[in-house]
Amino acid sequence: MKQIAGLPIDRIDGRAKVTGAAKYTADTDIPGVLHGVLVLSTIARGKITSIDTGRAKSAPGVVDVFTHLNTPRLTLLPFFPYTRGFIPMQDEIINHDGQPVAIVVAQTLEQAQYASTLVDVRYSQEVPKAVLGQVAGTEYVPDPALGEPNEFTRGDVTSAAADVKIDANYSSPTHHHNPIETSASLAVWQDGKLTAYETAQGIQFSRGVLAYSLGVQPTDVRVRTAYLGGGFGSKSVVLPHTLLTAAIARVLGQPLKVVLTRAAMYTSTGHRSEFRQRVALGATKDGKLTSLIQTTTQQASRTDEVTYNPTRSARMLYAVPNLQVRQQVAALDRPGAGFTRSPETAAHFGLETAMDELAYAVGVDPLELRLRNYAEVDPETRQPFTSRYLRDCYRMAANAFGWSRRSMKPGSTRDGQEFIGWGMATEAHSSLAFPSSALVQMNVDGTVLAQSSTQEIGTGTLTVMTQAVAEIMGTTVDAVTFQLGDSDLPAASWSAASATVKSVVAALDKAGKAVRDNVIKLAVADARSPLSGLAVDQVEAEHGHLFATGDRSRRDSYLDVMSRHGNVVATTAQTPSTPGYTTGAVFVEVRIDPRSGRVRVTRAVGAYDPGRVMNRKTARSQVIGGITWGIGFALMEQTVVDQRTARIVNPNLSGYLIPVNADVPDIQALFVDKPDPGSPALGARGFGEVPITGVPAAIGNAVFHATGRRIRDLPITQDKLL
């Protein structure tokens, strides 16, 4: 079979994206659409005592103003995928800063923006809890959420012998996703049916929660997300503004558009929780792990206690006989946290920094230490992995980086004034698959239509799925049309948890093979076909042609078979959830100016084992993106919360620093690229979240190597090195 998946083809939506033709949610042109602007609470805990909308209502162009007093009542779905635990504007209670307290609807955006400043809200306020440091001692282990236990034990950590012990605390601040596209909802009702243009990483989730909360049938709700301008978890669960927009559009009887401001994104779409952790390692004097204790604390809110940042690396990464993992939360008067790109990174930073500390404690090279603790089998199940080439990743990345030239001694490499440090870490993340379905249809002209209600979040879903269908069917990329982003298409799961490729390709493979075989059956049963009389498994498909195996002169084509047949051939297939785990390794170089404490990442090399690579061009871009997020995590990103008011001090892109072009060096991305026989998706595993995971620790380890200073509290800002 001709290999099409894996080729570095250009993005199929590239032309639309470079010409401005790609329409994102807020770009949707609906004649007569009204504009809604949110008014957000300015306190973090308390009650609304009065709300005066008189001036706003009489401002020019204002259609109406909605508050908790006149907003339609919505039914709360008390569990995933609506994780907030309450719906705002249903009562007077304020659970967090930036909670919607009113929506002003006007004819134009400017009218709604101006009138929103005229709503006068009065509160009675209680003293809020803003940061984990204020609630020390109140930590608890919540009930399992999303099917995962919060406590996990293997062996017995208390009786494990150890020659060397590492026991340290690590921390990282709140992070915000900051996709360039802010969240938007555009609701259009017609004849009791809703079309919602959404910024959603899971349009079927939006559909389900909208139907439930509004009290309509799911079949009466259609959710569309043609393009998504980044999500990173901020658009993964269903959010209050989506429900409020649809409810208000229904009572107004007119289409309504609500686009969140950048500032509103900091309180409306979740965040990566402030995170504290203790990691305690026990090891033999040659660095073999005997025990691992990891206790993490993340933020809950008063209405939500999901642990969004799992401690998976401790359980999966190394062969350690005695293990104790405990995931705690402590409640704050803050918006509920949420999934943020590569949620396992927060805990992974502690583990991979502790491993570097252990390497220095026993005097073993950090890479060698990881090889000595290599997990030959799945540490949880003790079963062999269906495929794991992490050892190859270490070797490939180390060689490309030149790691063998590293002198172990901290502070030993200088270039003029600058200190140079080299650090490394293992990269790893769960890569799940969720039940998803897809339709594959061969048309009468031999072209192929494939559909699945997945989302194009920017990872290259449209392109990769088109390639996958071409390969499965044995036809060309040009002959395939793949459609997504519409909840009326066969149901697929969300674009999150690195799940899309494995979920959707698996469904396409199942449906596509059935269609291919059915078309071949038509050929071999047809006396007019040169393939007449062959068994189905004696025919191969390639480039839109059908060949007799071993005799390429006997050939037919999809076009000819289908035009003789005269009807489309179609199948819809579904695949189940499957677990998965993907690994890699990253090596970085930092240069530090000792006068200013400024750290710059000057080189990064990552090598990965994602099973089969589906498109080398888009996969490389995922690596670049992930490593860059890791640079932000390590060196600059932090949401600053005022400790007295529990309000965010920097809800914007000038106070919340994300990496800019000048912060990012050339990044080398390497792939093992061997299919995983355990994957139902052409041998591919989930991958997108892996490349960020090890980077914060690798940078911290490089900073230690450069300076001898171990920074256990992120981000590593200049003041911490002076």
């Binding site: 250009d10 401005g20 955006l109 400017e110 923006q113 900051n178 360039i180 997020w629 072009n661 050339d666």
Partner: protein, 181 residues
């Protein structure tokens, strides 16, 4: 590179908005019909003085290529060209731009033929989600025009006013290098 004159013009805009009441938009003032020349075509639109160029393009002309990522000049997704200079269209008022040649991402290609920068962005995979891309491309066109595309480091520096959260920066640098050749 902004000249002293353009800086002064921008300063004037700040003074105008500072006179209004606080908040995201000034109070309503009578709309006035203006003629904006966008992508070589004259659009007559009725706008109040408080309407930004970005909102005039997006909400009144259905030119949604320029994106609103922050509405305060931090992200660069709204970058367009005004008389060949790159500006952030969220930080300028539509009424101030009468008589200037505005170029948006929709006006860059000649018919079906893409601009070399657009082609280079596709070839180098210089975008993922595509939300910052119109701004990146408009900025890249100007960077080359300004003579700031001489080396990768120079490109990194002069393209740093356009944020990309998918973080395609090395590919953006490669695309600008390609197109500048």
């Amino acid at each position: 590179m902004p000249s002293r004159r353009t800086v002064l013009q921008a300063g004037g805009a700040t003074v105008v908005t500072a006179l209004g009441p606080p908040g995201p938009a000034a109070a309503e003032a009578p709309a006035r019909e203006i003629a904006l020349k966008v992508n070589g075509e004259v659009h007559k639109v009725a706008v109040e003085p408080r309407v930004t160029l970005l909102d005039a393009l997006r909400e009144r002309m259905n030119l949604t290529g320029a994106k609103k990522g922050c509405d305060r000049g931090e992200c660069g997704a709204c970058t367009v060209l005004a008389d060949g200079r790159r500006i952030k269209s969220c930080l300028t008022l539509a009424v101030m731009r009468e008589g200037e040649e505005i170029t948006t991402i929709e006006g860059l290609a000649s018919g079906d033929r893409l601009h070399p920068v657009q082609e280079a962005f596709i070839r180098q995979d210089a975008f993922q989600c595509g939300m910052c891309t119109p701004g990146q491309i408009m900025s890249a066109v100007a960077v080359i025009q300004e003579g700031h595309a001489g080396s990768p480091d120079e490109i990194r520096e002069w393209m740093s006013g356009n944020l990309c959260r998918c973080a395609c920066y090395p590919n953006i640098v490669a695309a600008v290098r390609d197109a500048a050749r």
